[in-house]
């Protein structure tokens, strides 16, 4: 860890402005989703979702309207066998539970891992 650097502004007692605190999202939260080895979709996506969103709605309605659905391998995703990662650690979602109920909080990062699918021409794209 780096030694903290004290600049002029940090000498004051004004608390830092946390621009992306959950209160600024009007009752919603941020959720990031990535799909491993499908870099044609150039970056993980940022979604605005309700903490009460059920995991099934994420899979059945939000993701099919996202960039991922435009990938040629999207129709081949076998949702029963997707390996999920939350904060880069293996995670087993519950389809019928809400994000909040299964600990998927504000600014959580979910990854979809589909070992059988390796992107365009097997290049990870």
């Amino acid at each position: 860890m780096e030694t903290p650097v004290h600049t002029h502004a940090q000498q004051t007692s004004v608390p830092p402005l946390v621009r992306d605190r959950i209160d600024n999202f009007h009752g919603q939260q941020l959720l990031y989703v990535g799909w491993d080895h499908h870099t044609m979709i150039c970056a993980p996506i940022a979604l605005l979702v309700s903490p009460e969103l059920r995991f099934s709605e994420l899979i059945d309605s939000l993701l099919p309207a996202s960039a991922f659905a435009l990938h040629p391998e999207w129709p081949q995703v076998d949702w029963a066998h997707v390996e999920w990662l939350l904060a880069d650690r293996p995670f087993t979602p519950e389809r019928d539970a809400t994000l909040k109920a299964q600990g998927i909080g504000h600014k959580a990062y979910l990854r979809i891992h589909t070992p059988a699918l390796r992107g365009i021409a097997g290049t990870g794209a």
């Binding site: 650097v5 600049t7 830092p16 870099t39 150039c42 365009i120 021409a121």
Partner: protein, 522 residues
Amino acid sequence: MNTQDTRRPSGKKLSLKEKYAQMTRGLGWDTTYEPMDKVFDQLGLEGIKIHDWDKWEDPFRLTMDAYWKYQAEKERKLYAVLDAFQQNNGHLNISDARYVNTLKLFFTGITPAEYNAHRLFSMLGRQFPGPGAAIACQMQAVDELRHVQTQIHCISQYNKYFNGLHDHTVMNDRLWYLSVPKSFFEDAISSGPFEQIIAISFALEYLLTNLVFMPFMSGAAYNGDMATVTFGFSSQSDEARHMTLGLECIKFVLEQDPGNAAIIQRYLDKWFWRGYKVLGLVSMMLDYMLPKKVMSWKEAWDIYFVQNGGSLFNDLSRYGLRMPKYWEQSVAEAEHLSHQTWNAFYNFSGAAAFHVWLPSDEDMAWLAEKYPNTFDQHYRPRIEHYRKLQAEGKRYYNPSLPMLCQTCQTPLIFTEMDDPTRTSHRQLEHDGDTYHFCSDGCRDIFAGQPDKYVSAWLPAHQILQGNCVEPGAEAAGDPGADALRYFHVVAGQDNLDYEGSPDEANWLRWKGLDKMPPAAAA
């Protein structure tokens, strides 16, 4: 401080050396109404110790009157060329209208950065008690302002004929990808005075500026853009002075106190990485946007950073400095950087103020030759897929918003070097919130100053918070359309592909290519 009276008896002309002493060092004095440490109140905050400001050497020994004379001469030459360029419709002599998209990137991304550099050096000059350093900052502040003006005047000719150049200041404040260079400068300008000068004069000007100026100016020369070449030349002699200031500054600080080296190394580590991340845009420009190519990003990085930077750090090792942290990673990534950056703009060209296009067969052969380890293996197949989709009229656009790095603000488009198909992602928890990063370098920078980076204005998040709506305009209800209007990007004119754009239609008409059969015109 120099307080002695060095005036000469009246009537006698001063020698150059005396004039220099009078007009630089003679301007410094110790304050008496207020203590010096209160007048220069930011100096002590960073832990850098300066024992003798008079040891600051100005290698150019320029006085303001000589400075005005030199600059005026350069201006006369520059404006003569710009006049000729306008009268002869010089914009018609460029290699291809696609080339102008590099100017759009430069003008919206770099010209406003020059203005921020002007502001930074104006404030910095006020913070240094040594007149040598203060005057060097003052001259650089004037230089930077001159660069902004000459760039605006040069590019105004292009603005009459091409789209996307009409609003560079608003775009720089709002447009998503421009938050990368913008946040770089705002990070610098809100740092302590020594960090500012190390960030800009050393890390940017000395270590990395060749990677901005060389590609753009050589690119201009190769592609027939004499106006840009001329402002490049006009800036170049200033850049040489700025680079010397950077080197002088770092040596001065290191020689003043042995304890300074550790702090300077930390600044170098940070600003090397910050600068490198901004250069992703330049890598795309070199490899994907110049119709006539100059050199590849990998070649440029090898010459200007690995070789030149390497020998510089050899010289500096006697002060206990080493190469900046993670420099080896930048070398490994040189094989991937431009391809991944270009792919992001192909994804999001609907929300950009310049056009993109697919590389031609010839371009791809060049890319394969320059990137034998990566292009065919990782990047050609996706481009061929895009080509197939376009031929079918199903051009792929990314309709989602990207996840951004909290520090450099780039979308998470980079991959791990041990597995170039897996997204590089780091995260940490701070004060109850989660923060995400594109790299170890960006995570470390955040961890060093979390209170600064928690306030980052990340465009994707601002759009989702509902803050990116043009003031006074009614929200269209479609966040994409609202954001575009907020960016001042005119839909269907400034954005999307070059093929089918008004820029392309105009160019073909001006060059008489619109009446030719499509195969011949291409």
